[in-house]
């Protein structure tokens, strides 16, 4: 037999042996050290027995905010908290905490990534990967039915392409209109601009230092000096920046949090622009010949639609106003986030868009004791925040947030630049078109005047199991199908959804939610308290067999409730 044929035979044999070899190693997870799910005493309603479920931590020592969630009857769920959470309803209204049937979660092994079943006004019809998601009207919806039968989600990364879809009539509603296209939309009688009012902040971060991979402390001189940080705070012409680069409706930030959020604008407003005083401060600090790099990532965000031009403008503005050398440098997004969040950059551009409409979502995350992104942390900032986060009474928290805002101003860990307005756009013929303050547009309240409403967003969703997603596109795609106990209206106010009300006890450590009766899921099963418990258990209990999801991290559960139950076992 020729050499070539021997070689061929040998290669084929090798491939066959490899293919029939032992399976690749699989990742195993440690068995949970504790199991905290217990059955509540049976409760009878309408003559039928009901065995309520619950999920609980052994005690509050695990560090999280939730002690237990219990189905106290077929249509009542009780949340027992380790300490008062003043933003409880605002957090629960976030659609990450949507409810699906317990049988469906169990059948999918805790990962209904492409087949969510909910109680929403729409039923998922098809996910045509890469192209579109099609929803059909839910004929058994408990609320007001949509005026049209079919809703289609599509996506396009290019804003120009999204606008073309709208102008050509192939889409009814698009997100994130580029600033350069606003005039086009406003000049077209067939289109209407829909301002997005979600609170956000763009800030110039300054880190005093960080700990490198070897644990060694790296000091970012001269940003460890307050005078230098104050010079930057006063040396940036924020008004000029907002006027030149941001959409109409954007405003210069007087405080870190937009004044639309209660208690956000207590305390003194930010420093006025004063280049002369800023230069003097730098001279006093001995930093007049400073050379520094301004790091940024060139991605589109609601708080920063045009990162590159804005960063270049900031660099040039600071260079001219302070008489120093500032060079803007774009860094790839993943690398940027990794470095910025540990304080590795002395000067960087970053921002934040609200997850829920409460001041804790902004201040506690950024200025908490454990956050290293600004290097040093300041007790006069985080101590009032910790105290305020334990108070349910908004009036009682006002002096604490005033103290925190004043401390932020005094310590200057960053320079708040702007609260940016972003814009959606829609056909003028779309009735009820409005961009909500939180969440995706509520298409069930709109009427395109035809059978199908087409919505175009930036990206394809990663999955449709929003309990384990953080990107806005996935959260938007869940919204037509999945509902939680509470939700938001278009103005960002909390409204009842699957719960008719959630009432707190005197010190707001126990919240009792009364569930809506007579609601059915899209698969025909009846909604009750056990579905709530199972849905929450899958997210909050790291030891639950349903704690699978997509990434397995359930980041919003961790971040909004501080810690997962049984986290060490997960």
């Amino acid at each position: 037999m020729s050499r070539l044929r021997w070689l061929t035979l040998l290669s084929v044999l090798t491939l066959v042996i490899a293919a029939c070899g032992t399976p690749a190693a699989t990742t195993t997870t440690a068995a949970p050290t504790t199991t905290a799910t217990t059955a509540a005493p049976p409760t009878t309603t309408d003559g039928t027995d009901f065995e309520g479920k619950s999920v609980a931590a052994q005690d509050c020592g695990y560090g999280g905010k939730i002690l237990s969630i219990e189905a106290t009857s077929q249509y009542e769920v009780t949340f027992t908290l380790c300490s008062p959470v003043p933003a409880f309803q605002q957090i629960v209204a976030f659609n990450v905490f949507g409810v699906q049937p317990e049988e469906h979660l169990e059948a999918t092994g805790g990962a209904p990534l492409a087949d969510p079943i909910g109680t929403g006004p729409y039923v998922l019809d098809a996910w045509n990967r890469g192209d579109s998601i099609v929803y059909q009207q839910n004929p058994d919806y408990w609320g007001d039915a949509p005026a049209y039968p079919t809703l289609v989600y599509r996506w396009g990364t290019e804003s120009a392409a999204r606008l073309l879809e709208l102008q050509s009539g192939n889409a009814d509603y698009i997100t994130n209109v580029a600033p350069s296209d606003i005039a086009t939309v406003e000049g077209d009688a067939n289109l209407v601009l829909l301002p997005n009012r979600a609170p956000n902040i763009l800030y110039l971060g300054m880190s005093t230092g960080y700990f490198d991979a070897n644990g060694a402390e790296v000091v970012h001189e001269p940003f460890d000096q307050l005078e230098v940080r104050q010079a930057f705070a006063m040396g940036l012409n924020r008004q000029q920046l907002v006027d030149n680069f941001f959409a109409p409706g954007s405003e210069v930030a007087s405080h870190f949090v937009s004044c639309s959020v209660p208690n956000a604008c207590t305390g003194d407003p930010w420093y006025d622009f004063d280049a002369e005083a800023a230069q003097q401060l730098l001279a006093d600090a001995g930093a007049s010949d400073l050379e520094v790099t301004l790091y940024y990532r060139d991605v589109v965000r609601p708080y920063l639609p045009e990162a590159g031009p804005v960063a270049q403008e900031i660099a040039q503005d600071l260079s001219e106003n302070l008489g120093i050398s500032v060079n803007a440098q774009a860094v790839e997004s993943g690398e940027f986030i990794e470095a910025a969040t540990i304080g590795a950059y002395s000067l960087y551009l970053l921002g934040w868009t609200a997850d829920y409409p409460h001041i804790t979502n902004f201040l506690d995350f950024h200025f908490g004791e454990a956050n290293p992104q600004f290097g040093a942390t300041y007790a006069d900032i985080y101590e009032p925040l910790v105290e305020a986060s334990a108070l349910a009474d908004a009036a009682a928290t006002e002096p604490l947030y005033e103290a925190a805002n004043n401390a932020i101003r005094a310590n200057i860990p960053m320079v708040p630049i702007s609260h940016a307005a972003s814009n959606d756009a829609a056909l003028a013929s779309l009735e009820g078109g409005v961009s909500p303050v939180f969440g995706a547009p509520q298409f069930q309240t709109m009427n395109p005047g035809k059978d199908t409403l087409v919505f175009v967003q930036n990206e394809e969703p990663i999955s449709l199991y929003c309990a384990d997603e953080t990107d806005g596109e996935s959260l938007a795609a869940c919204q037509p199908v999945i509902e939680g106990l509470l939700g938001y209206d278009n103005d960002g106010q909390v409204v009842p959804k699957l719960a008719t009300e959630c009432v707190a006890n005197e010190d707001s450590t126990v919240w009792t939610c009364t569930l809506r009766e007579g609601v059915t899921f899209h698969d025909g099963s009846t909604f009750d308290a056990n579905d709530v418990i199972t849905s929450w258990e899958a997210g909050i209990d790291a030891a639950s067999p349903l704690h699978v999801g997509n990434s397995g991290v359930f980041e919003y559960y961790t971040y909004l409730w501080t810690q997962l139950i049984n986290a060490l076992a997960g």
């Binding site: 690749a24 890469g130 579109s132 099609v134 290019e158 790839e332 690398e335 394809e460 991290v553 919003y556």
Partner: protein, 359 residues
Amino acid sequence: MVNFLLRRLLFAIPVLIGIVVVVFLLVRAIPGDPCRSMLGERATQEACETFNRVNGLDEPVPVQLGIYLVRLLQFDLGDSVRSSRPVMSVLIERLPMTIELSMSALLIALLVGIPLGIVAAMRHNTAVDVGTMAAANVGVSMPVFWLGLMLAYLFALVLKDTPFSLPPSGRLSAGASPIPFYEVWGWTAQPDTIRGSVLEFVSNFFIFNTIITGQWAILGDAIKHLILPAVALATIPLSIIARITRSSLLEVLGSDYVRTARAKGALERRVVSRHALRNALLPVVTIGGLQLGLLLGGAVLTESVFSLAGVGRALVEAIFARDYAVIQGFTFVVAFGYVLVNLAVDVSYAYLDPRIRLE
């Protein structure tokens, strides 16, 4: 011929393995990690430790490489960390779109570029020749991104409500979806089986699927959506093919045997088509093959402008998301595609020129 094919395929194996290893190591050298790419500014150290553990990214790199290579030999390209779906599933969805788009673009490029090159060669040093080559220069210089948006603007907006209007993006109209041929024919296609995967892969060729099942409305819709991206994508290869055809034909037309054919009284058209063109097409075949390989792996700009879910866009998204398995798997497939295309080009040489023996 068989020995030649076997030898070429065998030699491709170490090349492909080398590519896989290089890509595997390169993507892990990129700053940033999948966890922070996915979770963004809300990523915490604890969250990323959990994420890495769940996705097997906490193992040493050599161990990860070994696991990946063993899986690769079992035709397992791993799972996307972003969507938790097998890379093979993503490929089955995305590759047909790219192949359809690339083949359409190449077809346009060949059908228009070769005749243009022939006309330019036959009318050498005339206004037609100069004009054709100037147009080719413009074509090769135009950014595909810009051209795509201009075409979409023209046909979707300017010509809106006319018989010439075309959709600006997408693969089908909103809500439209072809029925897979196996469903129409009553076949079963179990997911996660080889048969099921093959059937799904073939059904994702919308043009082919709708032709064989007679879904004429969907076919028309799919073709309408394919026209603009195919034309935009074809512009550069069309210009290159026109130039190569012209220069190659000019060279062949100056040969002794062509002069003999003319001397014997053959019509110019017959001289070109029967005697010159076949020899002149050899470099065109080479360029066409190279262009197809480029199109298969690099139509990302066109796919982005026209919102088409193809391989190029998936690869770019995976790079930004540090979705290692998708990057590795798609790169491997594109590399394999190059191998097959080059093999097809070499085999075609033997058909075009009997003097060439495949050894």
